[in-house]
């Protein structure tokens, strides 16, 4: 079995798995990073979203072979201590109910904030539009992203 090397949360990892294995299962089953969630396996729900070179991707749709040499950020690596403006805003707005979909939501939001410092409600709803939350946390996500943007503008990092 070929070994594939990728960088996850700043650490180079060599993975020996079938090159067709989706990154989602590499992260969860091989690397023990269970913060990336399995919700549908087909790219419909967004729970498995991670950042690839800073851009959001559905890790269930990325075969290991394609991940070779790339840099990924998972929810465990978004900050050392939960201090990313999105993470803090999520707590302040009491966004999470069951919380299962939230790692994907937060990473998508972090990517949006990195490219749009002050997104409108429509831009947030559109960027996160393909993420599903069965608990209905959507209104609070919109508030949290706006709050994170204000915080970042006031001096925090994006």
């Amino acid at each position: 079995m070929a070994e594939v090397t990728l960088t996850v949360n700043g650490v180079r990892r060599a993975v020996g798995a079938d090159p067709g294995t989706p990154l989602l299962w590499v992260l969860r089953d091989e690397l023990g990073l269970t913060g990336t969630k399995y919700g549908c396996g087909e790219g419909y729900c967004g729970s498995c979203t991670v950042l690839e070179e800073g851009a959001p991707v559905r890790s269930c749709q990325v075969p290991l072979a394609q991940a070779a040499g790339k840099r990924y950020t998972t929810i465990e690596g978004l900050s050392n201590d939960g201090s990313h403006p999105a993470q803090r805003a999520w707590l302040e707005q009491n966004v999470s109910q069951c919380g299962f979909c939230q790692p994907g939501m937060i990473l998508e939001a972090a990517a949006l904030l990195a490219r749009r410092a002050n997104p409108t409600e429509e831009e947030i709803a559109s960027a996160l539009g393909d993420h599903l939350c069965r608990c209905g946390s959507y209104p609070r996500i919109l508030s949290a992203v706006r709050l994170a943007a204000r915080r970042a503008a006031a001096g925090g990092r994006p």
Partner: protein, 729 residues
């Protein structure tokens, strides 16, 4: 160690802490009266280092139960909320009735947690007073510390051992409501930091050394039986280790989830058709419609019942239909099990840990105490995890291999092979007198009253009381009609039916509150005024308290939520052209009162799949008794709107004995694009002294309020869920 036989047991912890054992439910009173020794089933530990650990037997599924229960304790114990750690209880002799359902956790935990917190606080104060040689009345507490005269102070942790040697007070003083610091105030969820950093552990996140992953190939259609299978292809998949039959299907065991899924795809199974393989929901819907053409078993009769319709000056009737629906929690069901040397350990996001323990023990022919169940966080529950089918599958695989195993349901498994909210049809008929007053009310329901895969007996299916228990929202309707008859007709289906958020109520309340709106329109009445009248607003002869079908309804409180929703939504103020409002209300059997007003407008630009309307505003008025956290109530109110909206937009339908909606491309969950522009939650003041449930009560009246708004906006009345969006456009 000292014991208040009726409610408390105090002992010293190793390391010098204070252990307070108490009982979760009022069952203790009965036990004490019957002379049974007091046995705690809930615990608080105050460690010598000042940490407070609450052992909780409730499953966190997003309803915020861990935070709510910790708040109740912290308030009376007088500690900061961030000092409270939650430890999840496992079934055992002390925990014989764990379980989370029925929106009852805060309600049931209120009295025992307050008593335990207040008792522990009194013990700590008494210990401090004794140490200082002062009277306890000269001492008070601030969060985590006892303060005495002349600036004396001692932390709870350092007093814990001395407190453990004392006898708890007979009636610990409870904090007056005006002095509460936590109850009624907004706090941040205790589980929040773990969730936003990815540290939160759900059922799928259990990781054990040497573990395997397994999926099960299940019957493609209802009734299919396994005649044989060829595992050659599956075993050729890299990482697949074993394939074998277990009850319900063929397990594929592998070194990773992905290998197990790939192995299952490569498996060739021979399924033989049985009964139910031709089931189609369209034919079933027809059978339900036909069933309500006739009255069934009467579940309630007031006055002359249905016969009163004959004397009415005018009669109106309508039929409403409601679909099957999967739960669709984003975390598919999964459990992890290890069976070795006569012991079994299970890790599961279960809502019913004791049943998991009992059935796992029975499956393995082990005594229950040889089975340990660890309850994880659940990525949504909604009633699905009241079933233990997935737990037993994990056990069946684990007993056959020499490693711990995580039994994973794929999304498709979860949406196709779970159990479902039952489809139903409702026929309502009202008799009006010459002045337009409703004098007779007839509500017939037809559905499949199974619950959690247990098929009712023939006797139960004919038993009015059993059927009344499956008629929430029908027989326990709150309105004061002079004559009422409600009935139920059983229509069988091969679909596994089980608890779903709000269980039997959503369909019934949709039908009831929609029909009341039709009655109002047809008789030229305002829907709010009609409801208030039926709840005795202008008639002292209407009793304030009604007890229909074992429920308890305070009509004044229901009127108040209606009035609050109306006032906040400016119900009496006309809307501009192209806007419309609808109203609906419900009281759930947990005595939580909810009213919704929904305002709609035509959607200007419509993309494919989008409804032809937008929801401009949702006003929710709630009376849930004592408010533990106003933001927690708002969160549940928002959740109820989205849950119900998903039900308005989607369903699970069946063709040839199988669910059509296999993944989230077809199973519709409301999303950002569907969002109401605003959801406002308003708490209605009340003099109740207890909190009541929220998770389920917030669901029921949204869909009919939306339907009532759309009927005004479009002239087309949606009488079926999911709504026919083409007909409304």
């Amino acid at each position: 160690m000292s014991t208040r036989r009726d409610f408390l047991k105090v002992s010293l912890l190793a390391g010098g802490g204070l252990l307070v054992g108490f009982r979760w439910t009022e069952a203790a009173e009965g036990a004490a009266a019957a002379g049974v020794p007091f046995r705690p089933n809930a615990w608080v530990r105050i460690e010598a280092d000042g940490r407070v650990v609450l052992v909780v037997g409730k499953t966190e599924m997003g309803q915020g139960v861990r935070t709510a229960l910790a708040k109740i304790l912290a308030e009376e114990l007088d500690v900061d909320l961030d000092r409270v750690e939650i430890e999840q209880a496992s079934p055992g002799p002390e925990y014989t009735d764990l379980g989370t359902g029925g929106s009852s956790s805060s309600m049931d935990g209120w009295d025992p947690l307050r008593a335990a917190g207040a008792s522990a606080r009194a013990l700590l104060v008494a210990a401090a007073a004794a140490r200082w040689g002062v009277d306890a009345s000269g001492c008070r507490t601030e969060p985590g510390r006892v303060l005495g005269p002349e600036g004396r102070a001692a932390a709870y942790g350092e007093l814990a051992a001395e407190a453990a040697a004392r006898t708890p007070p007979e009636t610990p003083p409870l904090k007056p409501a005006a002095e509460r610091r936590l109850i009624g105030r907004r706090v941040q969820r205790l589980d929040g930091p773990a969730i936003v950093t990815g540290r939160a552990r759900y059922g799928l996140d259990v990781r054990l050394p040497g573990m395997r992953f397994a999926v099960v190939a299940r019957p493609p259609r209802f009734g299919d039986r396994l005649a044989g299978f060829d595992s050659t292809g599956a075993l050729a998949v890299d990482g697949v280790e074993d394939c074998f039959a277990i009850p319900g299907g063929i397990a594929v065991v592998a070194r990773s989830t992905w290998a197990a899924l790939a192995g299952r795809r490569a498996l060739v199974a021979d399924w033989r058709a049985g009964a139910g393989g031709d089931f189609a929901s369209e034919a079933h819907a027809r059978a339900l419609r036909e069933a309500v053409a006739e009255a069934g078993v009467t579940t309630r009769r007031d006055g002359a019942g249905r016969a009163a319709l004959a004397g009415a000056a005018r009669r109106l009737h309508a039929v409403y239909e409601y679909p099957f629906a999967a739960h669709g929690a984003i975390e598919p069901v999964a459990a992890t099990a290890r069976v070795e040397s006569g012991r079994c350990e299970i890790w599961s996001p279960t809502q019913t840990p004791n049943a998991v323990q009992a059935f796992a023990a029975r499956t393995l022919a082990l005594p229950p105490d040889a089975v340990t169940v660890h309850v994880t966080l659940a990525g949504g529950g909604f009633g699905r995890r009241l079933g233990w089918d997935f737990d037993l599958e994990a056990v069946e695989v684990a007993r056959r291999i020499d490693a711990p195993v995580q039994l994973v349901w794929s999304r498709e498994d979860d949406l196709v092979h779970g159990y479902f909210q039952a489809a139903s049809a409702h026929r309502l008929e009202a008799g009006l007198d010459a002045s337009g007053r409703v004098v007779a009310w007839d509500h017939r329901k037809a559905s499949t009253p199974h619950n959690a895969r247990r098929r009712p007996s023939r006797e139960q299916l004919a038993d009015p009381q059993f059927l009344a228990g499956s008629s929430w929202g029908v027989n326990d309707q709150p309105y004061a009609f002079p004559a009422v008859e409600t009935s139920y007709r059983v229509v069988e289906a091969p679909v596994p039916i089980g608890p779903w958020r709000s269980v039997f109520a959503p369909s019934s309340v949709f039908a009831r509150e929609s029909f009341l709106d039709e009655v109002a329109l047809a008789s030229g009445r305002d829907p709010l005024a009609l409801r208030l009248e039926l709840l005795g607003a202008d008639d002292a002869g209407v009793p304030r308290i009604a007890e229909p079908g074992g429920a308890r309804v305070d009509r004044l409180r229901l009127r108040r939520v209606l009035e609050t929703a109306a006032e906040r939504s400016e119900w009496s103020r006309p809307l501009p052209a192209g806007r419309a409002r609808g109203l609906a209300a419900d009281v759930f059997h947990t005595e939580t009162y909810v009213a919704h007003v929904v305002e709609v407008a035509p959607r200007a630009r419509r993309r494919p799949g989008e409804p032809p309307f937008t929801i401009e505003r949702v006003v929710v008025a709630i009376d849930c008794g004592v408010v533990i956290d106003p933001d927690g109530v708002a969160q549940q109110a928002e959740s109820g709107v989205y849950w119900s909206l998903s039900n308005v937009l989607g369903e699970t339908s069946f063709a040839r004995g199988r669910a059509r909606e296999e993944n989230f491309d077809a199973f519709r969950i409301a999303t950002f694009a569907d969002r109401p522009r605003a959801i406002e939650t308003h708490l209605v003041p009340n003099d109740d002294e207890r909190p009541h449930g929220l998770g389920e009560p917030v669901v029921n009246s949204f869909a009919p309020a939306l339907a009532n708004a759309l009927a005004r906006l479009t002239g087309q009345r949606p009488r079926r869920l999911p709504f026919d969006l083409a007909a409304l456009g």
